[in-house]
Symmetry: C2
Subunit: 699 residues, 2 copies
């Protein structure tokens, strides 16, 4: 049993402490002895309160468990699965003998509310498992935990015996997807909602309008979607389908309709509501643009009142997001009537005008029974305290809002499109930084956070890879106790979860090989394809907003996203592991020869990779642009191999050598083709380690 347990309990092969392969890590875990076998006889009984949603969750659970394991359930194979489901539906199935018994206390709210009980207790013993929860929300979370526990062992599939008492740290754990800049077909949203369920997120924030597209059917104002979407919008029927899909997975859907800025696409069909002379056209570029609603025009509020009324009926959630970010004020400044209004009403400036707009908008939202959510620009002290501030410009605004009595959620630090590492996102805590010294009642106003997937450089093909697996690290930050901060453990569990997410249909891994194949072309030789993979495996797109700055031609919504920069992961696993191994090697005074040889072999591969890339570049324009990157990788490999030779032999290069190499590495650090070579840090450390003052150099 020890062997089995070690297989189940070790999160990975990176030598960190034994820990359950669960992500997010539960609040309380107690390992027990033994394990519960999961085989074709696996059965589930539902006791206590039940409902159709919970039964569907159990059906989904069984399907996912079958996918993960490849098992064929015996009774299903024998044609009695339906009977069992029917039994479960009646809530009367006998628990005796069921492998997993679920007991739920009572229903959750008819419309999922912020702060509902999501807790659960999962007890796995060698003879059976029990999942207990107050509501179906907790039960569904517990089922996901169980799925993560199941692993292959020397004797079959099994879940380790364990007692888990779990509940979320924050009640608002969201993912925002921008359907405005690039339209995201419904199936893509659905599989991402599956992914959210897997990591226990509970708010899908749907960014539905942008300068580049108005993405939802309005029956009251059909010119919104007809003229503002290029034909790419969600019908109201699809929206209802998605809301139901999300509710089935314990996930609220908060729609965002961004006003008064980011609103070009609205104004294409309704130019009379804009602050400029019009006409307006759907924006094709990225950035901050001038078009804005006219806050001085009563028609604007009449329109918004009717529109919000329509959408408030469609979206059952209590929260309604109005955007409010990045109004550049240019149309307002250029409009004499608006400037006169500002003066006449003592509003001081554009910010005052936006505050005026927000106040009137908030009244409309409230009238339709909702609480308003806005980006942190909407924060002004005189708004009612039931609004929620979504902080994106920094943690200060979150703390400021809490101090003023507003609730808030953090997105600053959780922008998935900026290409940060999972570790960097993971280190961002909603109640740290400016929020750390808050009083308890202020602290309680921090509801959680949201990962944001803005879609300038993201389309149907690569969006999953820009969200996953890094989003799992953010999900853990928002669910698990604040004390859960071990980065090595996080990565090991995230790797495991990333593999599991594929069974849900997420394409964050599969897209990669396909895109590289397209880039290499069909006449690529196998060794050329392999070389492209070696290169692509160690580069990342430039970070933050550098991609705009480095673009040769201004990118638009018509720009093809088929380049190497669009294909590679936002975080390179290979480079991360290399850099980790360098740290380990140097920390061990460069005496670990196994690690040393592994590093050297890796560096040789990089050093010798370029000829195949050069040859491939003769055939493919998509490879041509990464030739300088490939040459830099060769340089990196060459310098690294030299450094390793010094370190392995225990000899020292002259100090000038280190300086020369460091200068070359500084050159290599400059992006090419919007790509960064991620093993650079590790190679620099190896070069540094050759110095006589270091433990390695003195060897």
């Amino acid at each position: 049993m020890v062997a089995m347990l070690s297989g189940l309990l070790l999160a990975g092969a990176h030598g960190q402490q034994a820990v359950l392969n669960v992500m997010p890590l539960p609040a309380n875990v107690q390992a027990r002895d033994g394990a519960l076998t999961v085989d074709a006889n696996f059965s589930v009984a539902v006791t206590g309160y039940s409902e159709a949603r919970l039964e569907r969750a159990v059906t989904r659970f069984r399907r996912e468990l079958a996918r993960q394991t490849g098992l064929v359930w015996k009774r299903e194979a024998l044609g009695v699965a339906k009977t069992e489901t029917a039994k479960a539906a009646s809530g009367t199935s006998a628990t005796s003998g069921a492998t997993l018994t679920i007991h739920t206390g009572h229903a959750s709210a008819a419309i999922q509310e912020l702060g509902e009980d999501e807790s659960y207790t999962l007890e796995v013993t060698p003879v059976g498992a029990t999942l207990t929860a107050e509501t179906p929300l907790g039960a569904m979370h517990g089922l996901q935990t169980f799925l993560q526990l199941v692993a292959v062992t020397p004797d079959g599939f099994a879940a380790p015996a364990v007692t888990i008492q779990d509940k979320p740290r924050f009640p608002w754990r969201g993912l925002m997807i921008d359907s405005g800049r690039h339209f995201m077909p419904l199936e893509i949203l659905k599989r991402n909602i599956d992914g959210m369920e897997a990591v226990k997120m509970n708010v899908f924030h749907w960014h539905l309008s942008e300068n580049q597209g108005f993405r939802i059917e309005s029956k009251k104002f059909p010119r919104l979607h007809e003229m503002g979407s290029d034909g790419f919008y969600y019908t109201q029927e699809e929206v209802r389908e998605l809301i139901e899909y999300a509710r089935d997975r314990g996930i609220r859907v908060v729609p965002e309709f961004d006003v008064p800025g980011h609103s070009t696409a609205w104004l294409v069909g309704y130019p009379e509501l804009g602050s400029g002379p019009g006409p307006y056209e759907i924006e094709r570029k990225w950035g901050i643009f001038d078009p804005a609603f006219d806050p001085t025009n009563e028609k604007t509020y009449k329109f918004l009142n009717e529109f919000v009324g329509e959408m408030a009926k469609l979206f059952p959630d209590h929260f309604f997001h109005v955007g409010g970010d990045e109004v550049n004020g240019k149309e307002w400044d250029a409009n004499a009537k608006i400037q006169a209004f500002i003066k006449a009403n003592g509003l001081k400036n554009d910010a005052g005008l936006q505050a005026y707009f927000n106040k009137k908008l908030q009244a409309i939202i409230a009238k339709h029974g909702k609480s308003m959510v806005g980006w942190d620009e909407v924060l002004t002290p005189d708004l009612p305290k039931d609004i929620v501030i979504q902080s994106w410009r920094g943690q200060d605004s979150l703390a400021a809002a809490a101090k003023q009595g507003f609730r808030g959620i953090l997105s600053s630090g959780y922008y998935l499109d900026l290409g940060w590492s999972a570790a960097r996102h993971y280190a961002v805590d909603p109640t740290s930084g400016a929020a750390a010294p808050l009083a308890p009642e202020e602290n309680a106003r921090i509801l959680g956070g949201e990962a944001c997937m803005w879609s300038e450089y993201v389309n149907s093909e690569n969006v999953d890879s820009r969200i996953w697996p890094r989003n799992a690290a953010i999900a853990e930050r928002l669910w698990s106790p604040q004390s859960v901060t071990d980065v090595a453990s996080m990565y090991a569990r995230m790797d495991a979860e990333s593999a599991r997410l594929e069974w849900l249909g997420l394409t964050h891994r599969t897209y990669y090989r396909q895109m590289l194949q397209r880039i290499a072309g069909r006449s690529a030789a196998p060794q050329e394809e392999a070389a492209l993979r070696v290169l692509a495996d160690v580069v990342e797109p430039v970070k933050d907003y550098a991609r705009e700055q480095l673009a040769a031609t201004e990118p638009t919504s018509g720009t093809s996203l088929n380049r190497v920069v669009d294909a590679v992961a936002l975080e390179s696993d290979t480079a991360r592991r290399f850099n980790e191994l360098v740290d380990k090697y140097v920390a061990a005074s460069c005496k670990d020869d196994d690690a040393g040889n592994e590093l050297r072999a890796q560096l040789i591969r990089w050093r010798d990779n370029d000829p195949a890339i050069e040859s491939l570049a003769q055939k493919s324009f998509l490879v041509k642009e990464v030739v300088p990157v490939s040459q830099d990788l060769a340089t990196l490999g060459k310098i690294g191999v030299f450094a390793m030779d010094y370190l392995i032999l225990g000899s020292q290069p002259p100090a000038a050598w280190r300086n020369d190499q460091s200068a070359v590495l500084t050159d290599v650090s400059k992006p090419n083709a919007q790509l960064l070579l991620m093993p650079l840090a590790g190679v620099q450390k190896l070069v540094n380690a050759t110095g006589g003052a270091t433990a390695c150099g003195a060897k």
Copy 2:
């Protein structure tokens, strides 16, 4: 332009002659100078006859071209795609300036018929392309050819200038999928129909009933699907949807309802039609079983008449498959009433009784306006000549049928489940062997062939990989001129097509890594996962029907298909390339040191791969069973490296060494875990080459 052309025209990196990257290879190809750029401005005009199906095909074509290239069509991005489609729909769009102009002569038949005109001419020039076809069927084939022509070049995407005149060799080019033994969800069938369209197959043969399942809703006899399917069946609405889907792609749908044998699942709900005492239960095992309809019972014909009537209305195709294979006669032999009937009617034996049954059944099929198709067991001279014989037991029956005046299609040699190589399938020609000496009018009765995917060891997860890419080789055999037989060219083009098929959603490549990940488990170290991949890449499942014979416990429909044997490809690319390289190396008298070093490096990898597998086997029962295979691979590697050392150094081992190694290799040739080590042949050749009598040994 030469560089661009060479990129487009070379089928691969294997050094064979320059050839278009098109599969199946067209009847006539003439290369021209230059190439047609495919960029965001790419436009399509439809002239001449048009219809909604053709417009949908053009829309699909544009989508697939966008997927293949990652391009964003300019006008679509600008929101005018719909206008263009509307124009195309009216058939009036101006052709001037369109990148691709399609001209279609007239409609095809309302219900697709055998032998309709499927020809097309595709002319690609540097300034535009023209696709001309008599019917939409030909136009759709031409669109697929165009998609295959487009490739990445140093200057962007392009199609080489070329003139293609193309038409199929055979009018019946089919793929059969067995939905009986393992139910195949509709989406899986759809993507396989997409694959069929890509390689110009035109008949989907849908095996809908088996001992293990009756898979279609019958409104007349609901106990068929209710009691015979475990709940896994297609509704009639789904069937209509699939037929429409197939018609949109130029594919006929021929249903098969297998009688009088293979019929257990029918008899579960209607035991009174069986020849045994009943009751019947859905069969869980694989093989040939006793249950059979009672041909002496008039109720049988009344039932079949009504059932065929219902299905004949549902399936518009003129052909109706009645199975007729593998009646073991045991129920008939054990039934005194049936034996008395045989005697009373002078039917001689069970075969005579089946012929009697077939004759009555054929009359029923004909009455409902259809032509009967049956497996070759139904062949008896006194049946009407409009029936079609599907030859599965050998080519002789096809020739015999043709001589007797029957039409026939070949499936012997095209059984995808037997695990043959693409080359072996490719070598099977419907008019070779026994059919070669036929007279022209007999020869004309050979309509083509069908690949067959029987599903004992195939489920939703791995079915695509069992069909593709090998099915493309069969598709080429049935479409291209008989003279097209270059195996190296076939493999190079099949590799390219295999990559392209992924853009259609086929999972024949992506499933592999996921299944291996499941087998390795989440606690596998990266190097252990890599080792499993090295091993899995060079093994294939045992061939033909050996899997049953080697099973430790009898497999059933409840057996999990999650083992290494279920994950690995039916044809190992890695082993094939290794064996090809050995041939090349030996043919060059072992003087090609580059090839020699590549072989040696590969062999070293195999020799040293086992420790990681042994370690992984400590964690996963799914790996444990392949440890002997891994040890054999190590042996293979060790012997191969020794042989290479002799060959590279030009020294000779003692003859005893060769004998000893050959004995060991004979041992290695025995399957373990139902797997074969495919590089064995190459290693044996290297060992042989060390002999003094060979060019290598004498070096």
